[in-house]
Point group: C2
Chain length 299, copies 2
């Protein structure tokens, strides 16, 4: 398909589901009616690095590229708005429309409009997605930096499923964990509900609980003390594995202890531990001893 034909076919595959879009596709830039605060993040996935076209359908790649970007908006408690997509397509790659179709499926599920894009040639399939979310005031948003000593620490859903799914996929298996790896769900609604419940800090678990808990602790200038036994595990996954597996896109958050019930009403939450003065992450075993070095998944 010629490039201009491809761009036309892509545009035809998209739906403008925003009531805020003034100029959509076909001009030099999109124009969108803003709300007071714009929340913006860019995320990139590359064939052979973040996914493998020999195990991922193009539609899965499109879904996942948008999902990882939207997860950053979720982590802020923002309402998802628009996505802007750059596609680098290798010679002979025929899956561009399928890729955009997978992305559009998630866009439809989350109320996002894919409002602009760019299609170029290059050596490896690469998808860069910029997502823009909106909020009316700073109170609606949550950073990584507000956790305070005395807060309790929770996480949504369960962990380790995506990495277990990735390994299953490598072995040629299918199933619910593989599906979770291929089509992760950004926790946009849960995040806004948690933010409204008063979370003091929040981050999406993209690099694994152990790593992202450290990011939150560092940004807030506090110590997180979490019990390994309390980590919610995906089926067949050990707590150690659940603590290091990435790409789950659940939400890790801190909140004042008297708001615990509000958080539980907002989303399915497991309580992992507490925030103290100090720095870094301390993972505790069942006996209350600090765990040094996590074993995790066999690679």
């Amino acid at each position: 398909m010629r490039e201009l034909d491809l761009i036309g076919a892509i545009q035809a595959a998209l739906t403008d589901r925003g009531d805020r879009t003034v100029r959509w596709s076909g001009d030099d830039a999109a124009v969108v009616r803003a709300r007071p605060l714009a929340v913006t993040s860019i995320d990139t996935v590359v064939d052979g690095v973040h996914f493998r076209l020999d195990t991922h359908d193009a539609a899965d790649v499109g879904w996942k590229a948008l999902a990882t970007a939207l997860s950053d908006l979720a982590a802020m408690g923002a309402a998802a708005g628009e996505a802007y997509v750059a596609l680098v397509l290798p010679e002979g790659f025929e899956g561009a429309l399928e890729l955009v179709g997978g992305m559009e499926e998630l866009a439809a599920a989350t109320g996002v409009t894919i409002a602009g894009g760019d299609v170029v040639r290059g050596p490896a399939l690469t998808v860069a997605v910029t997502v823009v979310g909106w909020a009316d005031s700073e109170d609606e948003l949550v950073g990584r930096d507000g956790a305070a000593p005395g807060d309790v620490v929770g996480v949504t859903g369960d962990l380790g499923g995506s990495e277990a799914g990735r390994l299953a996929l490598e072995r040629g298996e299918r199933g619910p964990l593989v599906e979770r790896h291929l089509r992760p769900a950004p926790r946009l609604e849960e995040a806004r509900a948690l933010a409204a419940a008063g979370t003091s800090a929040m981050i999406d678990v993209s690099d694994g609980l152990a790593t992202d808990a450290r990011h939150l602790a560092d940004a807030s200038g506090v110590q997180l003390r979490l019990s390994l036994d309390a980590v919610p595990c995906a089926p067949g996954v050990s707590p150690e594995q659940a603590a290091v597996g990435g790409d789950d896109y659940e939400l890790l958050f801190a909140i004042a202890p008297d708001r615990r019930a509000d958080a539980e009403a907002a989303a399915p939450v497991s309580w992992l531990g507490e925030v103290r003065a100090g720095g870094g992450l301390v993972l505790l075993d069942a006996g209350g001893r600090a765990v040094e070095g996590l074993a995790g998944f066999e690679h």
Copy 2:
């Protein structure tokens, strides 16, 4: 340099020059105080396709990647605000900080804040830049689609210089045209002044005048009749070459004839012809005959 160190070094090389930035780097997403209309575009350049690292310094690549994206905001008449940058870095590439430095030079010159980014590994240096501009009302903005029969058609600056510079660069030469190819200037101020002067349609000349004039004609549903002899030429470039050379990032626009003087006061403008009912682009020679097939640059 390890990835986290590199990201830290990149953040340290950037300046927040917005008075609108609520959350800058270091969180899941940037937060910016919006104006009523957000104008957004994404643009991607890939080594070996849009530039060649054997002739382009990394700093030039960074400059150019931001310049091409900002040029789309200029074409809309928007005020440039923030940029979000995804870098795909090949193994062994050491120029990431230099690249960001070149981008930051242009950001400083245009008042733009590089407010977020993503750094990943991949097979070829790729830079995807999303730029966000702002406007207070739709009246401030100009699309491609407003040209009307009776309008006159103008262009800023001169054309063909970037392509001539690219060919000189291939021959190992340097000079002002090479500089123009390496570090194009997005016409942000000229564009806003032209929009304020009442342009009915505008586009940036990125693919060459002949191609972009057709885009404008198609979007507006009109015919553009332009005189080849009137095309402003970069030094040493013929009118045919100037009409097909890309990457100049000058502005092509239509405006009502009684606003001609306002346009001339807004920017250095050459008048190329007029808008008629009909479709497509007609290029006329000195005798008023339609030119069929442009010779252009020798490749």
